[in-house]
């Protein structure tokens, strides 16, 4: 009985396989970025600056006439477009666009803005599906920069449009929005990493910011706090698979590609300097009193509960979103928080870290590319940037606005000039970027890090195993 069926099934499968092969061939169309969108379709005005649009890059847009300083770019370039501009975003991104819609519609009355809101995961999945299927992609979408490389084949190269504005943004923005020479998206925010801590609790337990210069100092201070509070209070929290923390040290050790080399062709996690970094992490994990493995991460309700009750006194995290998280969820702790730089691996070494901003990208499928560009960069420059900041309070990457904000002192942080410090940290950060397979590399790193921190493997062996797994799965050297 079984044998008979398998034969028939096989026949059906062969027939189907042929059909499938045909479908696969059809399915590969959208991937090949060869169809240039006719320049005539967008922007009737003569492309004054820089001549003809280069179709080779896969549908680049007609550059707006000379927009170096004038933030409100020449509207005439995009007035030829009309229709509905679809924008996708997740929480924290679409608000920025929402705050621009009025101003945008006034300038471009022919273009109607339709914002679709999704969850973080869903936005990324849906974008991928749309690009693969060749249809259904939005005109503008905000994605997490560490997933950028997963989509580049389906995104528009914005180098021409964005180049005039590059020097108006803090440096890492350019490199992290680029891949292999092309630029895909401007970032809405800048995420330098620092240590947010409770000054009142540190004073109570005699911990001084100035004394914490290396990670080892932080680990020692943890023991100090544990003893002084009879085990009730932890200086900081840490996860066994904390790849976020690892990434901070990676940058400090001189690896702006985190797991990869500058060309994104090699995995470098087994480099001796990485071993050094992991050996610096070990005492942090083993320190007395560290709160281990809090469920839900930094933005989960467990951590919030711990912070509110004073069970944990510090948080090592990016400074873009966190201040507003604190002010919104713990208004009662106003005045008690401060920000400091992350410690260094070795005394006197770099004290930097950088996490993951969101970038606005324009899929190639879009037929309203110029308008999409206008809308995106409107939200990041000039008045638009200020509107964005007012609404979301997320640290901007736009220098003129930063110049303005860095003079302000923050009551919630006891009068500290938060933006000034954040900006300084960002300034010292090298040109970080996120290569292909970044998400997977993070998970792999997390798994092996756990084995190392739990003592199952030495740092060398663990990193070597991690590197090997990454090389095989990510197809890198």
């Amino acid at each position: 009985m079984v044998k008979r069926i398998t034969r028939r099934q096989f026949l059906r499968l062969s027939a189907g396989a042929t059909a499938g092969a045909v479908l696969a061939a059809c399915g590969s169309e959208p991937a090949a970025p060869t169809v240039p969108t006719a320049p005539a379709a967008m922007g009737a005005t003569a492309p004054a600056a820089g001549g003809a649009t280069a179709p080779a890059a896969g549908g680049a847009i007609a550059p707006t006439a000379g927009g170096a300083t004038a933030p409100t770019a020449a509207p005439a370039a995009a007035s030829g477009e009309s229709g509905t501009l679809t924008v996708w975003g997740f929480e924290g991104t679409y608000e920025g666009i929402e705050s621009q819609v009025d101003a945008f519609t006034k300038q471009f009355p022919n273009v109607k803005v339709d914002i679709k809101k999704f969850g973080y995961d869903d936005t990324h999945t849906n974008l991928l599906n749309a690009i693969v299927a060749g249809t259904g992609a939005p005109d503008l979408v905000g994605i997490d920069v560490l997933r950028l490389t997963q989509y580049v084949d389906g995104l528009t190269d914005l180098s021409e449009q964005a180049k005039p504005y590059f020097d108006q943004f803090v440096p890492p923005i350019v490199s992290l929005g680029s891949y292999k020479g092309k630029f895909y998206g401007l970032a809405t925010d800048s995420e330098p990493v620092g240590v947010f801590y409770r000054k009142d609790l540190w004073d109570q337990y005699s911990v001084q910011e100035e004394k914490i210069e290396t990670w080892a100092d932080l680990a020692n201070a943890s023991g100090q706090v544990h003893d002084a509070s009879q085990g009730k209070v932890s200086l900081y929290a840490m996860n066994a698979n904390d790849f976020n923390l690892f990434e901070v040290l990676a940058v400090e050790q001189g690896f702006p590609g985190y797991y990869f080399n500058k060309d994104d062709t090699q995995v470098i996690v087994d480099d001796p300097k990485m071993v050094e970094a992991v050996n610096a992490l070990k005492p942090l994990w083993g320190a007395k009193g560290v709160l281990q493995n809090v469920n839900g991460g930094a933005y989960g309700d467990e951590m919030t509960a711990a912070l509110k009750s004073g069970k944990v006194t510090a948080q090592i995290i990016g400074a873009a979103w966190y201040p507003s998280t604190l002010t919104q969820n713990m208004p009662e702790l106003s005045g008690k928080w401060r920000l400091m730089r992350v410690p260094a691996v070795k005394k006197g070494g770099p004290r930097i870290g950088y996490q993951y901003p969101t970038v606005w990208v324009i899929p190639q499928q879009s037929t309203l590319k110029s308008s999409a560009w206008e809308l995106a960069h409107m939200s990041l420059i000039g008045d638009g940037a200020r509107r964005l900041y007012e609404k979301t309070k997320i640290l901007p990457a736009y220098k003129p606005l930063l110049d303005e904000l860095q003079t302000k002192s923050d009551d919630y942080f006891g009068g500290q000039k938060l933006v000034e410090l954040s900006r300084a940290i960002a300034k010292d950060t090298p040109d970080v970027f996120f290569g292909t397979g970044f998400t997977e590399a993070q998970e792999i790193m997390g798994n092996h890090l756990q084995e190392i921190l739990n003592g199952q493997k030495s740092a060398e062996d663990g990193l070597r195993a991690a590197a090997q797994e990454m090389r095989e799965k990510l197809k890198k050297g």
């Binding site: 079984v2 066994a240 397979g437 997977e440 197809k475």
Partner: protein, 308 residues
């Protein structure tokens, strides 16, 4: 009836031929809506994925033809084996116990001792009406470190709270508990149906012969329930390997704690929708399908051999 009687002599053969033709064609016509849809949206995508598994499809480009490479990498992938191991643990913890529990409870509810059968049946079946997402959410809440019922109860008793959701062993146990809660009622009702088809005379005869209820259960009920138990075992095994929603909601796509709770379902999802590696993911799916098929055949063979 009337129509054929009114036909002329000449027409009758034609009508009979038409009728005969229709009697042959009708079955195919009846199943064709189903089959057309099935081929288009069921079979075609599956075959397509088989083809895709031979390509290096990562992200948005199909990439090149790589033959069996995806399969080779998969068989060297430590995460894959971890997921198989975890799935096996989950299977051991949920399938045999669930069948046993379902059978025992069904037997109790079927026995002459118990009133309020319908009420109990409703209560036990209630979890089945919740969605898998809700199941994961609720159990995540129950075992939450600071906000969960379990830790609140422990602290009320003066015992220390425990980080259930981050302990490698307990993560699997919690998943098993969620599954038992969610699906036992379903199994129970099926068992109940099977039980009710066993004639009462057998039990009477046994009782006259002096058998206790436990003995009757062991020697009459279980052997006669074999087909139902077998069906249940096969379906549950397939379900365990496809398990995705509950672990995903409980532990996220990443698979926390060095993937202590990654099961085959989440492993597949992770590679398709998080890493966007469709070639690899398709290979995973087909290898899993082969495993499931093999296990089902094995269960069938074991089941029928015992019957003989």
């Amino acid at each position: 009836m009337a129509p054929t009687a009114q036909l002329t002599q000449a027409q009758r053969p034609a009508v009979r031929r038409r009728e005969r033709w229709w009697r042959i064609a009708a079955p195919y016509v009846f199943i064709s809506p189903f089959y057309i849809l099935f081929l288009a949206f069921g079979l075609l995508p599956i075959v397509f994925s088989l083809v895709v598994s031979l390509y290096d499809w990562r992200g948005t480009t199909p990439g090149g033809f790589v033959g069996m490479q995806n399969y080779q990498v998969l068989l060297r992938d430590p995460t894959f084996y971890k997921s198989l191991l975890n799935t096996t643990y989950v299977w051991i913890g949920s399938v045999p116990p669930m069948i046993l529990l379902a059978l025992v409870f069904a037997a109790i509810l079927n026995s002459r001792f118990v009133r309020f059968r319908n009420l109990f049946r409703t209560v036990y079946f209630l979890p089945v009406v919740t969605s898998l997402v809700i199941t994961g959410l609720v159990f995540g809440q129950l075992f939450s470190m600071s906000f969960g019922l379990v830790n609140s109860a422990l602290e009320a008793l003066g015992l220390p709270a425990f980080n259930w959701l981050n302990d490698p062993t307990w993560m699997k146990i919690i998943l098993v508990l969620a599954l038992l809660w969610r699906w036992t009622g379903n199994d129970m009702v099926i068992m109940l149906a099977g039980l009710q088809s066993i004639p009462n005379d057998l039990y009477e005869a046994a009782r006259v012969d002096g058998a206790t209820d436990v003995q009757s259960f062991w020697h009459i009920t279980i052997p006669l329930m074999r087909p139902v138990i077998l069906f249940d075992a096969i379906i549950s095994t397939i379900g365990t390997f496809n398990l995705f929603a509950e672990p995903y909601v409980l532990f996220g796509q990443g698979g926390a704690m060095n993937q202590a709770a990654v099961v085959t379902g989440t492993f597949l999802y992770q590679n398709s929708f998080r890493y966007f590696k469709f070639g690899y993911a398709s290979a995973i799916a087909w290898v899993l399908a082969a495993i499931i098929l093999a296990l089902s055949m094995l269960q069938l063979k074991l089941g029928s051999r015992e019957a003989a």
